[in-house]
Amino acid sequence: MRVVVATAILGLAPRAALACSACALAGISDNAAAYVSMSLVLTALPLGMVLGVATWLYRNIRRADRHATGSISS
């Protein structure tokens, strides 16, 4: 319940954020938005790339394994 309330406060009352350095200077809310969006990009990018390479590898490894067993049975 407290989490819900806390989240609600955080979401609904951003102006109450006091120790928020990023909000303190005039016109700097762009800066906060840039921080958040760039954090998302930086976090998602490596995970996406790793996922891509991992999927590619996984497919090839499976194909290699299947190929290997197939050639034996033949």
């Binding site: 954020a17 350095s21 976090t43 067993t69």
Partner: protein
């Protein structure tokens, strides 16, 4: 032995200094790391003496000035993380073990591998050189927050900070090249028959650590280049008066800095898994769960970095979010430790020196892990941030990682590396001496940290709350324990050198272990195996009921499980 090398004896330089052999490179990494550890140990000796006896002359160093203290703590952190933990765990064990455990002759890019070590060596030289430049070495903490690190008018170390940054950047390049090799080799050079889930856990862990490293290091290198330009060219990337943003560096640094913790933790966990299964004569409990937990840890580790910045002036709403992700990462890590403890159940445990180290890793890291909860919770981090509580916390994680797990690995693979056994008595003296003094050293720091003792402080006399005799006694206790701990490392060095020349000769598989490196002779020749091994089963088939031996090497022909249809050990498991 590859074709062009056959029948030719390489000279000393080619064999030891300019080799492309993964084993030589691994040992080079490990020995360089151990040499750097001596410098790291000397720095901690000096600044702990100053903390315990402020103002007195430290033997072998002299009086410690404020600038000395700052560079000593900075260098201690930098060296121990980047020049000891990284080369020993990743460069050393990674290079040495991966091709052997996969059953191939070498890395896929041997020359890139050699280049990796050469760059690493260069970075070490640059770092050591920074001790001798005018102004002294960099003293702005291993996190190097600008503007302090960006402007020599603030740091007063015009050359030291540049050399420090250069050394760190070079070091990253070295491990980047190494990581490419590790991952590619593991994917493309496995012995025939070795499927993804037949790979020993330690190889999995080093590969996952390399993936984490390569995914996170880019932004820090970008930030380091910007910082370097600020220092050398005079740009204003981090200078607020010229439109720069000092907090930016903190983001770029910790975006790498937190995954880095897991880059080091995972290989250590892998080493411990190998040692534990061998000396408990047990199959690793829930192999796949460990791999999946490690992957999960890696993924979540990209979402937690800002917990280092709760009080650094970031948006407090963002801090709440990172507090949640930080606590979530405790879930996969706790899972791994539960699995390790469960592995002991029903075992036949032999408390050899490597096993003692491996068990001590689990026991000690647990305390480091649970104290992390205090720091990941944003509410309590307000108080604990930058106190000795944090120092004690991360020494309870990093000391097990960089030293306890490394000692487990070195004592375990020493027979393979050098063909001789290490002395058990000296090993146990070293173990107990180190573990007891380690705890006596860092438990008091939890107390002083909780009482408000903040980090990197050269002299407490100005702080009425911290300059009390009780606090000073705790500091003195920690310092004496540290001195004793350092003294016990001499036992290890003596054991290492003695065993290298006079130890009992080791057979190929002295521990009766399953993985492929024990098939090669001790030490393995260039090219590793006389006949290339073929893999028939997973790496942890210990105490299989249907067999006389309580181990069943991966390379030993036998009931081969065909695809999909479990046979041999797997049918036993279903019957149980």
């Amino acid at each position: 032995m590859s074709a062009h090398d056959a029948g030719r004896d390489p000279g000393f330089v080619e064999k030891y200094l300019y080799s492309t052999d993964h084993k030589t490179i691994g040992l080079q990494y490990m020995l360089t790391g151990m040499a750097m550890a001596l410098i790291g140990a000397f720095t901690v000796y000096v600044f702990r003496m100053q903390a315990a006896y402020p103002g007195s002359s430290v033997p072998l160093f002299g009086r410690v000035a404020a600038a000395d203290y700052n560079y000593l703590v900075t260098m201690h952190g930098t060296i121990m993380i980047f020049w000891v933990a990284m080369p020993v765990l990743i460069g050393g064990f990674g290079n040495y073990l991966i091709p052997l455990m996969l059953g191939c002759d070498d890395m896929v890019f041997p020359r890139v591998n050699r280049l990796s070590y050469q760059i690493f060596l260069l970075s070490s030289v640059v770092l050591v050189a920074s001790f001798f430049v005018p102004g002294g070495p960099f003293g702005g903490a291993w996190t190097a927050y600008p503007p302090l690190s960006a402007n020599s008018a603030y740091s007063l170390t015009p050359y030291g900070s540049t050399l420090w940054l250069l050394a760190v950047a070079l070091e990253f390049v070295a491990f980047l090249l190494g990581g490419i090799n590790f991952i590619t080799t593991t994917m493309n050079s496995r012995a025939p028959g070795m499927k993804m889930f037949d790979i020993p856990i330690v190889v999995w862990m080093i590969v996952l650590a390399s993936v984490l490293f390569m995914g996170s290091v880019g932004p820090l290198v970008a930030g380091a280049v910007m910082l370097l330009l600020d220092q050398v060219v005079g740009t204003g990337f981090y200078d607020p008066s010229r439109g720069g943003d000092p907090v930016l560096w903190q983001h770029l640094f910790w975006f790498f800095g937190h995954p880095e913790v897991y880059v080091l933790l995972l290989p250590a966990m892998g080493i411990v898994a190998e040692v534990m299964t061998v000396f408990a004569r047990k199959k690793l409990f829930a192999y796949r769960t460990i791999v999946y937990s490690a992957v999960g840890t890696g993924i979540i580790s990209f979402f937690v970095w800002a917990h280092h910045q709760f009080v650094a002036g970031i948006d407090p709403r963002m801090a709440s979010l990172f507090s949640v992700t930080t606590l979530i990462i405790s879930i996969p890590v706790a899972e791994m430790f539960f699995v390790y403890i469960a592995t002991l159940y029903g075992g036949s445990i032999r408390l050899t020196t490597p096993m003692l180290w491996a068990l001590a890793f689990v026991a000690e890291f647990l305390l480091g892990g649970v104290t992390g909860i205090f720091l990941g919770s944003a509410g309590s981090d307000i108080y604990f941030h930058d106190t000795y509580f944090i120092v004690a916390h991360f020494h309870y994680t990093f000391f097990p990682i960089a030293f306890i797990a490394a000692f487990a690995g070195i004592t375990f693979w020493f027979p393979k590396m050098f063909g001789r056994m290490m002395d058990e008595t000296l090993g146990k003296v070293h173990f107990w001496g180190t573990i007891i003094t380690f705890n006596v050293c860092f438990l008091p720091l939890f107390v002083t940290g909780t009482a408000g003792d903040h980090r990197r402080v050269f002299d407490y006399s100005g702080f009425a709350e911290l300059a009390t005799p009780q606090m000073q006694n705790l500091r003195i206790l920690a310092t004496w324990a540290l001195l004793a701990m350092l003294a016990f490392q001499v036992v290890f060095l003596v054991n290492f050198v003695y065993s290298l020349f006079k130890g009992e000769a080791a057979e190929a598989n002295p521990w009766k272990a399953n993985t492929l490196e024990w098939l090669a002779s001790s030490p393995p020749p260039h090219g590793n195996f006389e006949t290339m091994p073929v893999v028939y089963r997973g790496p942890y088939e210990y105490s299989v009921p249907s067999r006389d031996d309580d181990y069943w090497p991966q390379y030993e022909p036998g009931d081969t499980a065909d695809d999909g249809a479990p046979s041999g050990p797997r049918s036993v498991e279903q019957g149980a």
